[in-house]
Amino acid sequence: MFGYILRRLVAAVLVVVVISMIVFALFFLGPSNPAAVICNANGRCTPERQATLEHALGLDQSVIPQYGEFVKGVFVGRTISVGPGADYDCSAPCLGISFRSKLEITELLKDKYPATVSLAVVGGSLYLLIGSTLGILAAKYRGSATDRILVSSSLVFSSIPYYLVALLAWLFLYNEYRLFPETGYFAVTDNPVKWASGLLLPWLVLGFAQSPQYARFGRGSMVETLSEDFIRTASAKGLPRNKVLFKHGLRAAIVPIVTIFGLDMAFLLAGTVFTEEIFDIDGIGAWGLDGIRLLDFPVIAATVLVGAIFVVVANLIVDIAYSFLDPRVRLA
């Protein structure tokens, strides 16, 4: 087990490094010029000013030294210059500074992640719970009217694009009729109640809108499990029907659901863009979106890297969890 984790961690680190290189390459070899962006942001741009900026940013160097600078910054920190006299100290781990705000990316990241985490963890757990419960119910009563209603309504729900559901919810449940309190992220340490109330509507929207896929998947997994021989054995022993369903059926059916959820959670943690934008939550997703709109490359790079790390770590956790859930799996 230990050897397995070690090997996977090494692989994970390699993956992250490769991604950072790719991200780096995309931006600095891409069509847009960061210097032009900053130049335009700071007022009217002239070719000379742009050239000066380029030199200051080190863009006139080739890619590899630039990447080298970046890596150095991550480990020991560096000074980033955006023009003569405009030097910014960026302490380790340095992921650069925002072109717009000139603030350190790392600091901004620390400010914004609690919002995303709060949203992702509770919202995700909610849709796992709602979805799986509906799925189990549908499986238990498969073939009946209940089953058919659940399945068809989940189909209807999942056909509506998520952003539309979120937007309509915000529009009617909050903006028009004020059925829910003001949405947004309020630090949980300051005021837990405000924290919960601010995120309540987004949690519910996330929970219900994403549950259909878990309902369908849960139903499928449960139906398949219920047709297994060991379910028949459990009944043959004299177990009451609900015990058969939960202790034997669910225990086996939940495994693929949980593993998929692990990966889903990674994507959630990487930034729930629509939810944050629509409900005005100051999280990583919204931040990343802003970064794209404003061509703030360090921000974009940071959000992509954060996403990548979460996905890679989630994969590892899911694989390890799987070996605990299913004793037949021995991690090789």
């Binding site: 021989d229 054995t233 022993k237 086996a252 299913d326």
Partner: protein
């Protein structure tokens, strides 16, 4: 059809006297599955009984209804998708139409079942010990410790070495033979008076099969249970069955003592079965004599005798009744040997034509 008593064992005629009737009595059992394509007549008018200490072998191929009828004994079919009629009495308690509450008390307690593939029949995520403990605690008082001790006892009884260690192992950590022993341990943990074994050795090697059959017989002696052994393997029947029931197309087509059925079979299907199996002592210059054709559809069973499309002795029946009239299950020469066939003198045909092929 017998009247179904809903979930109780008391009634005007107390049927709980197991000294007057055998422990398991199946009477005119019919099991049908309504499907999109029609009504599948899996079992029709099946009757048999097994007493304590006796072993009944039910032999048939796929689609004969042998497994369906046995699952019906423990009420394991989905009520919503099954139509059952007739009577099944376990120790006097009526099973057909009995509620889940009654059935739960019987299952794993008065009657237990073991299945063909122990790898899929045991829950992969719980230890063998946990599964046996669960079976025990469902029907017995006591704490986890006593239950676990009982589990270790049972594992020892079925011949698993180091039972105190293996009790915490998962099913996949056992070999095929050991797994089947563990399943038998789980089935017998509550001393059931009836054990139904559904093809318990089909998935096992021949030396392991012999061990398991020995074990089942040992359990039977130990607990005095009635055993129903379902199989397609006549060899297994020959080894352990006292009485034999041959099933075809959902019906019983021949019933009698094991020796009778194997030495004086009176039904063309049984002749066909015996003729088509190779044997370690038979004459290898003679080709096997397969039964022509394929097993019948249970959706649209043949009219008259279900076997007639494949029967080579059909022409020996006057008036061609085989196509139109379903023969009844009637005694032949011996009162205890029943066959479902129109042939007027099966013994003569057997002696003259069939015996040389079969023996």
């Amino acid at each position: 059809m017998t009247e179904v008593l809903e979930g109780t064992q008391q009634g005007p005629q107390a049927r709980s006297s197991s000294d007057t009737e055998p422990f398991l009595v199946v009477e005119d059992l019919t099991v049908q599955f309504p499907t999109h394509d029609g009504l599948v007549q899996a079992v029709s008018d099946l009757s048999y009984s097994v007493g304590l200490g006796e072993t009944l072998g039910i032999v048939g191929e796929s689609g004969s209804g042998k497994s369906v009828s046995s699952m019906a004994v423990l009420g394991l079919h989905d009520e919503k998708r099954t139509r059952m009629a007739g009577s099944i009495r376990i120790g006097g308690k009526e099973v057909v139409g009995a509620g889940d509450h009654t059935m739960r008390k019987i299952r794993g307690n008065d009657a237990a079942m073991i299945f063909q593939d122990p790898l899929t029949a045991l829950h992969p995520f719980y230890t063998i010990g946990a599964q046996i403990v669960e079976a025990y605690r469902l029907h017995n008082e006591g704490n986890k410790r006593t239950a676990k001790r009982r589990a270790v006892e049972m594992l020892d009884l079925v011949g698993i070495p180091q039972p105190d260690r293996r009790v915490d192992d998962f099913p996949h950590q056992f070999s095929g033979g050991m797994r089947q022993r563990a399943m038998i341990a789980m089935a017998m943990v509550n001393n059931p008076k009836l054990l139904i074994a559904d093809e318990p050795t089909t998935a096992l090697d021949v030396t392991v099969q012999a061990q398991i059959l020995d074990l089942i017989q040992k359990m039977q002696k130990e607990f005095g249970s009635a055993v129903v052994m379902i199989t397609h393997d006549l060899g297994v029947i020959a080894e352990i069955a006292d009485e034999v029931l041959v099933m075809y197309g959902g019906r019983a087509v021949e019933k009698g003592s094991c020796k009778q059925i194997l030495t004086h079979p009176e039904m063309p299907y049984t002749w066909g079965l015996l003729g088509s199996i190779a044997d370690v002592t038979g004459d290898t210059s003679k080709p096997l004599v397969p039964i022509p054709g394929t097993p019948p559809s249970l959706l649209n069973p043949p009219t008259g005798c279900a076997f007639h499309p494949r029967c080579v002795h059909k022409d020996k029946v006057p008036d061609g009744r085989c196509n139109s009239e379903l023969p009844e299950l009637r005694p032949g020469i011996y009162a205890n040997h029943l066959t479902r066939c129109h042939l007027p003198d099966p013994d003569a045909i057997y002696e003259s034509e069939v015996k040389e092929v079969v023996m």
